[in-house]
């Protein structure tokens, strides 16, 4: 069984938002809601500035607070390591939304259930990469199987220093960030 994860190479992200629109269309995300977003965070004073481009989405945590807190078992882990929501079991109580440290969930008002990134599970089953990865213009989003030592992401994570978001809270995220800022003269 694969164990899916995503690597975000932040240096390659050019902030073009192709991922965001691809996700919306692929997953019929209701107006004004997003399952993934790209943040552009600038620090410093003119002209000594640095930018972090950060794509954010559900981290499909190994120890997912949303799974723990879900009263109906709608939020659950699947064998491929992803966190999914069983819409039939979800009662829309929002406990998962408040428990998620990554602000990755929202209520789908059209369906009355919690919603979030699925790693495009329906595409994975067909052998396709998630929609955001498939169209990532900068090649910043890289997806694959951590259990396969030869997968592109396994190779990348072995040879590059990487981090996860809010590591200290111990959620065990499966979205990894790598970045090499240019040194500026």
């Amino acid at each position: 069984m694969p164990r899916y994860a995503m690597v975000i190479d932040q240096s390659r992200c050019i902030g073009c938002m192709a991922c965001v629109v691809a996700c919306k269309r692929e997953n019929d995300v209701p107006p004004e809601h997003y399952r993934t977003r790209v943040l552009e965070m600038v620090q410093g004073t003119f002209p000594d500035l640095t930018t972090e481009m950060r794509s954010e989405l559900c981290n499909h945590c190994d120890k997912a607070p949303c799974v723990n807190i879900c009263p109906t078992g709608a939020s659950h882990h699947e064998e491929d390591g992803t966190v999914q929501i069983d819409r039939k079991k979800c009662v829309g109580c929002k406990a998962c939304i408040t428990s998620c440290p990554y602000n990755a969930r929202h209520i789908n008002k059209e369906l009355g259930v919690a919603d979030k990134c699925t790693f495009c599970q329906h595409r994975l089953i067909e052998g396709k990469k998630p929609a955001c990865v498939a169209t990532c213009v900068g090649g910043s989003r890289i997806f694959g199987d951590l259990d396969d030592p030869n997968s592109e992401i396994s190779v990348l994570l072995r040879k590059t220093s990487h981090r996860v978001l809010k590591k200290s809270i111990g959620t065990g995220p499966n979205v990894y960030y790598i970045n090499q800022y240019p040194t500026r003269s």
Binding site: R12, I14, C16, V20, K128, K129, G139, R184, S185
Partner: protein, 736 residues
């Protein structure tokens, strides 16, 4: 060739099945639909959310387009689409689209129209055209256009004997650059795309070019590849753009002084003998003249002029020379900045030549080698122009794409002869041309204004007759010659039937020919299949397998056309009089211009005013996409970027609404202030294309501010006629 990430993915995409997840598992559009069964079909076509012409694949379920993907075979998309390309479905299903032909009732601008049948609308147009041609001559009928639809209307005008056809993409965009490179290399710096070998570059210089925000798919893929690989970026921009954030050198230059920097760099490269001596000796003429002409442009002088640290000017060019020739100074694209822009483009072209980038890996690739048979489907030659066209004005190097404002001026004055009808196809002239009052004055002088478009833009809603075109997902267009490193042919074909009463522009043009008694220029055959028949004949003439193109791959390569780099048996050809790269231009000299670029100061803003500069958003194409659902949702309005210190001085808070008022007292819509460290103190910036005044575009109307409204002043480049538009100064008015 290095095994780049792109190649890895391409390779992965080809190896079907197994544990490898493919980016776009694409076998063939038809085979893929069969495999999935049901009411699914995949239609390979060409995107028109911008003009890069990416290959797109439309997934159609039960007659509706549900998803768009990038075509992996097509070199402009490589399996990916940008946000706009992904969002193209929003244009197709935009409920605000033009739905049927309309004829004006009442005064222009009041927006009162009656629905008309196609027959009635085209009869009306043809009758008016005939009357105007009879009274004033066919040259009194002019056209301005952007995109594919214009091609078919061009045909009508030419068949009548008018050549008064102009494209804003020339004088309001890249025409200036193209002419400068033609003068230097005898080639434009690209046709389908700029010939920049970014994926192999070791140093990339961007001058105002804000890749990332200025979203052209494959070029941005290569830019990100270069950044990811560790290429050094030298970014010259008064604004800390996305590209600047990826740079090793950010040069926050004083606006209007780019040529000073370029000339100082050229001086350093020559005086320190850092240029590619063998290359310059073999392929260029005029080194000595350039050396002499740039002597005075010392780094000290440039530092003062550009307000950049001298150390930065010197170190950045040394870095560039260190890795030459595997470097490129990007030729740029939108070039109509200050009215002296041809010479800036010349300086960029000369610097590239000194570094020996043309035909070198990581520099600029050589154009592909391919010949396409001439094809006009047996139509007779056009009659000669009834009168010499006005599209070049007094500009000796204005290109064949025409100078729009020259046509506009002639329409206002009636000199040297009257222009009484305009066709406007696929361009929102009110937002494309500087000085909206002049555009309105010209329109007021017309006896006929016909708009061919898909949306009820402010320009369309001034028309006497509105001919609603269908979107790119509903129509055939020409077979496209795609010139990247290789030559290829791509197709645009409908994914779904046209909605409402909209029609493809080829049909509109063809029917108009018939109404005008110019049947010999109409598309052969009848019905909506006629154009496809023509495309088949064209494919045959070019030796292309049409069925493979239309059902299978959407793009085919011309084998053997890719010869990107100079080798012993692949020598570059420079289509200039000297058959070499003209560092020194005799052609310019003969017309009384500087044969080597010289620095000209531009006017600086008075105290308490800022220079207005503008640029692109990755989720919008000019004003064309603002109303498109998901793209609008991502960016509903633009912001005005204002330096933090200046904002503090003026008491403007981040997120506060302000208005800008220019030197002529023109005010824009209210616009949100983005108070930021990311811009110099002497300029403000906004994304172009917002601030629609088009009530029928329900999402876009009134959101954000229109930069073009504030661009009342423009300075014409005396060489090409390009309109310098970054010459307007604004002050900030706080909203009560």
């Amino acid at each position: 060739m290095a095994f780049s990430r792109r190649n890895f993915l391409k390779f992965a995409a080809m190896s079907a099945g197994g544990a490898v997840l493919a980016d776009t598992p694409f076998i063939s559009a038809e085979a893929r639909a069969k495999a999935e069964g049901g009411n699914v079909k995949y239609v390979p076509t060409s995107c028109e959310m911008c003009f890069w012409k990416c290959g797109a694949i439309a997934k159609v379920v039960d007659g509706k387009v549900v998803k768009l993907e990038g075509n992996p075979y097509h070199p402009q998309s490589r399996g990916k689409l940008c946000a706009r390309g992904q969002g193209g479905i929003g244009q197709l299903y935009d409920e605000d689209r033009l739905k049927h032909p309309m004829i004006l009732e009442g005064k222009r601008g009041e927006g009162k129209y009656r629905k008309a049948s196609w027959d009635e609308a085209l009869d009306y147009v043809a009758k008016k055209m005939k009357a105007i041609a009879a009274k004033h001559g066919p040259e009194a009928i002019a056209m301005m256009s952007h995109g594919s639809s214009g091609d078919y209307i061009t045909n009508v005008l030419k068949a009548m004997g008018s050549r008064n056809i102009a494209f804003p993409s020339f004088a309001q965009c890249k025409g200036i650059r193209d002419e400068a490179w033609l003068l230097t290399y005898g080639h434009k710096p690209g046709s389908s795309c700029e010939q920049v070998d970014l994926e192999n570059s070791r140093v990339i210089v961007l001058i105002g070019t804000h890749l990332g925000e200025n979203m052209h798919n494959s070029q941005n893929q290569e830019f990100a590849e270069a950044v990811g690989r560790g290429a050094k970026i030298i970014c010259v921009d008064p604004r800390y753009s996305t590209a600047a954030s990826k740079s090793s050198f950010w040069l926050p230059i004083k606006p209007g002084t780019d040529t000073a920097l370029l000339l100082a760099w050229i001086n350093i490269v020559i005086s320190e003998e850092l240029y590619d001596k063998e290359y310059v000796e073999k392929y260029t003429v005029g080194l000595e003249e350039v050396k002499e002409a740039v002597k005075k442009y010392t780094p000290e002088w440039a530092a003062q002029e550009t307000e950049l640290p001298m150390r930065q000017i010197i170190e950045s060019v040394h870095e560039l020379c260190r890795y030459a020739p595997n470097v490129v100074v990007h030729p740029g694209r939108h070039y109509s900045w200050y009215g002296n822009d041809t010479q800036r483009a010349r300086a960029v072209a000369i610097l590239n030549a000194l570094l020996g980038t043309w035909g070198r890996k990581g520099g600029m690739w050589l154009p592909p080698k391919a010949k396409f048979a001439k094809f006009n489907d047996g139509a007779p030659a056009y009659p000669p122009a009834s009168k010499p066209p006005l599209i070049r004005g007094d500009f000796p190097f204005a290109g064949g794409a025409g100078v729009t404002q020259v046509l506009r001026d002639a329409t206002i004055t009636g000199n040297p002869y009257p222009i009484k009808a305009w066709f406007v196809a696929g361009t929102n002239l009110m937002k494309a041309l500087p000085n909206q009052e002049k555009t309105q004055d010209a329109i007021d002088n017309l006896d006929l204004l016909v708009a061919v478009d898909i949306m009820p833009t402010e320009t369309v809603m001034l028309a006497d007759v509105i001919l609603p075109e269908c979107t790119y997902l509903e129509r055939h267009d020409g077979l496209y010659k795609i010139k990247t490193r290789e030559a290829g042919v791509a197709i645009r074909q409908p994914a779904v039937e046209p909605m409402y009463e909209t029609k493809p522009a080829w049909w509109i043009g063809s029917e108009l020919c018939k109404k005008l008694g110019l049947d010999q220029y109409a598309v052969k055959g009848n019905g909506m299949d006629a154009w496809e028949g023509r495309m088949r004949r064209q494919a045959k003439a070019w030796g292309i397998d049409f069925d493979k193109l239309s059902k299978d791959t959407g793009y085919v390569t011309i084998p053997g056309s890719e010869r990107p780099y100079i080798t012993a048996d692949n020598q570059p050809f420079f289509d200039t009089f000297s058959e070499k790269i003209n560092l020194y231009s005799e052609a310019l000299e003969e017309e009384g211009f500087d044969p080597v670029p010289q620095y000209e100061e531009v006017e600086q803003p008075p105290k308490d005013m800022f220079r207005l500069i503008y640029g692109r958003s990755p989720v919008h194409t000019f004003s064309r996409t603002i109303n498109t659902q998901w793209l609008w949702e991502l960016q509903k309005e633009n912001e005005v970027w204002l330096n933090k210190k200046e904002a503090k001085r003026l008491g403007v808070k981040n997120g506060q609404y302000v208005r800008l008022e220019n030197q002529d007292g023109m005010r824009c819509n209210k616009i949100k202030a983005k108070v930021t460290e990311r811009i110099r103190h002497d300029c403000v910036y906004m994304v172009h294309g917002f601030g629609h005044n088009a009530p029928q575009m329900t999402r876009a109307d009134g959101s954000g501010a229109d930069d073009q409204k504030l661009i009342t002043k423009y300075i014409e480049d005396p060489i090409t006629g390009g309109t310098g538009m970054r010459v307007n100064f604004v002050k900030i008015i706080k909203e009560a």
